[in-house]
Amino acid sequence: MLETLELKRTPFHERTSRLSVAQNWRRWAGYMVVGSYDLSLDHEYWAIRDRAALIDVSPLMKYMIEGPDAARLLHKVTPRDVLKMKEGVVSYTGWCDEDGKLLDDGTIARLGPQLFRMTSAEPSLRWLAMNAVGMDVKVTEVTDQMAALSLQGPKSRAVLNRICRDKLDPLKYFRVAENAIGNIPVSISRTGYTGDLGYEIWIPAEQALPVWDALMEAGDDYGITPCGILAMDMARVEAGLFMVDVDYNASTHTWIEGQKSSPLEMGLDWAVNLDKKGYFNGRRALEREKREGSSWKLVGLDIAWEGLEKLYGEVGLPPQIPSMAVRGSLPVMIDGRQIGYASTSTWSPVLKKYIALAHVQRPYYEPGTQLTIEITVEHHRKQTPAKVVTLPFYDPAWKKK
């Protein structure tokens, strides 16, 4: 068979494929990854929220950016103040086209004075190279060479402390440090996509399996659980984290203006450093948007259970909601007029609430605004009350401690 016709396997496939009872596979950037290991998501979800969940995130696109102009390049392509970024710091950021519309989002980690690692969801090599014209910087894609594991959950630090050369206690939220597991050099960042205490471990691909095994063994006493991306999808909604091509479109994938999103519209105001020095892609447009206000915003919706009970009660049923996050657009209205849509909705087991990420037009995006959202009750479309809330929905005290 033609090799390129198959989905790629991550360096952990040997382990993940054997552990997956459900054999529920999902595509991610040309790779196949486990959707869920179990037949239900409960166990994996609660590993994220109460124990330690081990997630294979190897398909993330990874780039090493090196050279005297490395910081300058990232300062130019992202709205973050990269020149001021200290070594050992990780920044979450979106990046924009000329019109201030999002191309993608990811993290940049400053590993040295002239060395960064960047992660993205979309291939970014060509785009980085084009922006680097005239700069003294080398961009190397390491997606396939670098395996990545995300260890998320309140017990993740205890697990790592058992096997890492350096204890993780001094590593603060969104910091990165070199470390070692056994004799394998790894880089560990205190990052993740769950809004819980968690770490991402960056590993040379050929050493991937021994690291997996060491984590599984060290984590046994803490209930470590291999976790697929479907449970993570629920957690990331609770954490108010959005996903490209689900909650917004990369501007390069869009056909019309209305399909694009700016970082300010997506609620990333805190990650758009308009006070930083110098030019960056989309600066002018973002400054204008900041001045004039965004025409819509990504907000949280708290969908009232009483409303669901009432609508389902009318047909004699208790509320039925999907047991996983739903990536489907649901109209959001006020007084029967559509003023937005939800892009992902999910039941939150930890909050015991039905929640959604939604695009809502000005002026209805203020917290506390009462709106309605569509639900389908026995094949009939209905509107049920939902309230605008600030993100994240769930923010445990131990996340940053």
Binding site: L39, Y222, G223, K352
Partner: protein, 527 residues
């Protein structure tokens, strides 16, 4: 208002008392909740009996806690987390086992292995039981009317009050009404053939009763267990983070946040009655507290025979409370372990360790266990419902170590010659012996154990008679008959004195309905 003057005083900080207090505070009342122990929670407490090992001391599974209460009191925000308790396994004497999973297919496949016929019957049985539970559920939240006798026909009438009942055929309704008065053995024998399946299902019908699987009325208790399942996604079935004490800690935090005051080490001696009304309480330490309204959330015997002088109640009422059956029949053994019990039938660590492990090989096994109890002995081969909380919540024991919660029946309160230390020890040994038959390494890994007899339930949790539900869930002690005919609406014959705990409608379990509904009635009467 002075320091010791309140709108409402609540006696007992079990989950019902806490919930009632929270609801009254939410309505703007100045509330104090008084607890005799140094900790709140009542029968829903977590205690570190051995350093590092936390026992969910009495109650261990959350199944019926009302979704409305979880929302109204914002319990998730105050720390309530219900972790999944995914499976049930019944070890068999031949070294095999029967497992039930949350997923339908594997459960069916597993049962099919033992009995293809039962595998098919199980689906229909669940449907029938769930529909029955759905028909009965609305009745649980009604303040019941007061018919004088209880027959299948009365039950029918009562059922018809519920919304869902309208969609049921007369035949189906009759079947449900019959189910309520049947024995669980009769019910299960109609449906199934495989012993361990029937044994395990029948066990949920005897929990908290002084009855065997062949006793009429036990099928109803069985039904109770389907109630939790019909809330759909909101279903609160599982193991509470930090044990069941985690539930009451969350409720207490919520109550305090709303403004309720909680006093521990505040044992109530009696209710103060003036001009024919309850006007306050006197504590054991001599302090007096005054309020417009007093609610007892302690057990019915204390509430009506000890806190208040009988002269304030009609003789008939006093007699009815005296007759209210509160005989405890269950014990608990909580064990601290240095490793994981190795069940012969499970081999090594398995997902089954995260669920319930039920020693209930057959209906006969349980009936025999009951026979011994009838004659004042604890069972030599008891029914045991075990969970390993540390496999579900890693914070329950030090890393690599475990705690095990073993609910045991039967252990009669009125044991021949009375309970003493020697009998308690012997009872504990019997339980360990039984477990050892299925998990031979158990003795080697025991670090410490806490043996709880019904006498200990009475002594520690303060429940007269030591019945886990403050009174058996028997038909003549349910609905409009709980705790006494005419007084099932949370009011009592003494004006200003209310009653809202497990001995009230709709009964025991960490469900919260009694406290919530009682608070509602107090507010209705408020002037």
């Amino acid at each position: 208002m002075g320091v010791n003057t309140y709108d409402a005083i609540i006696i007992g900080a079990g989950h019902n008392g806490l919930i009632a207090g929270a609801y009254l505070a939410r309505a703007g009342k100045k509330v104090v909740i008084l607890e005799r122990r140094e900790i709140v929670g009542g029968a829903a407490v977590t205690e570190e009996i051995f350093p590092g090992y936390r026992f969910t001391e009495f109650s261990y599974v959350v199944s019926l806690l009302r979704p409305e209460i979880i929302r109204d009191l914002e319990l998730p925000r105050h720390g309530l987390k219900i972790l999944p308790l995914p499976s049930t396994v019944t070890p068999m004497d031949n070294g095999d086992y029967l497992a039930a999973w949350p997923d339908h297919e594997p459960t069916r496949r597993e049962l099919y292995r033992h009995s293809p016929k039962d595998a098919e019957a199980a689906d229909e049985y669940s449907r029938v039981m769930a529909r029955a539970a759905k028909a009965i559920k609305p009745v649980l939240s009604l303040v019941p009317p007061d018919p004088s006798s209880m027959s299948v026909r009365d039950m029918l009438g009562l059922l018809k009050l519920g919304q869902f009942a309208k969609s049921l055929s007369e035949k189906e309704l009759y079947r449900i009404a019959k189910l309520v008065t049947q024995s669980s053995a009769d019910l299960l024998n109609e449906w199934f053939e495989f012993g361990p399946l029937k044994g395990t299902k029948s066990a949920s019908g005897i929990i908290g009763t002084f009855l065997g699987p062949h006793s009429p009325g036990t099928a109803y208790v069985l039904l109770h267990h389907y109630m939790g399942e019909i809330d759909g996604a909101f279903r609160a079935w599982g193991f509470a983070k930090n044990g069941t004490g985690g539930v009451t800690a969350a409720i207490a935090a919520s109550a305090r946040a709303i403004g309720a005051e909680i006093r521990t080490n505040a044992s109530v001696a009696n209710v103060i009655v003036k001009g024919g009304r309850a006007v306050g309480v006197a504590l054991e330490n001599g302090d007096e507290l005054h309020a417009k309204v007093v609610m007892s959330a302690a057990d019915p015997k204390r509430s009506f025979l000890s806190f208040v002088e009988s002269k304030h109640f009609p003789d008939e009422f006093v007699q009815q409370i005296k007759n209210f059956r509160v005989r405890g029949s269950s014990g608990k053994v909580n064990i601290a372990l240095s490793g994981l019990p190795d069940f012969t039938c499970i081999k090594g660590e398995s997902p089954l360790h995260k669920g319930a492990i039920s020693i209930s090989p057959s209906i006969d096994y349980i009936e025999r266990a009951y026979d011994e109890a009838k004659y004042g002995q604890y069972s030599q081969n008891p029914y045991i419902d075990m969970i390993i909380p540390s496999m579900i919540d890693r914070d329950m024991a030090p890393p690599g170590h475990h705690v095990m919660s073993c609910f045991v029946q039967y252990a009669p309160y009125d044991i021949e010659g009375g309970w003493d230390d020697a009998k308690r020890d012997a009872f504990g040994e019997t339980v360990i012996n039984t477990i050892e038959k299925y998990a031979p390494n158990i003795r080697k890994i025991i670090v410490g154990k806490q043996v709880i007899t019904p006498k200990d339930i009475e002594r520690i949790a303060g429940i007269t008679g030591g019945n886990i539900f403050h009174g058996e869930l028997l038909l003549h002690q349910l609905f409009f008959l709980r705790p006494a005919p005419q007084w099932a609406d949370f009011r009592t014959p003494l004006p200003g004195y209310y009653f809202g705990a497990s001995g009230a409608h709709p009964g025991g379990g960490v469900m919260g309905a009694a406290g919530q509904l009682a608070a509602r009635e107090v507010l209705k009467d408020w002037r």
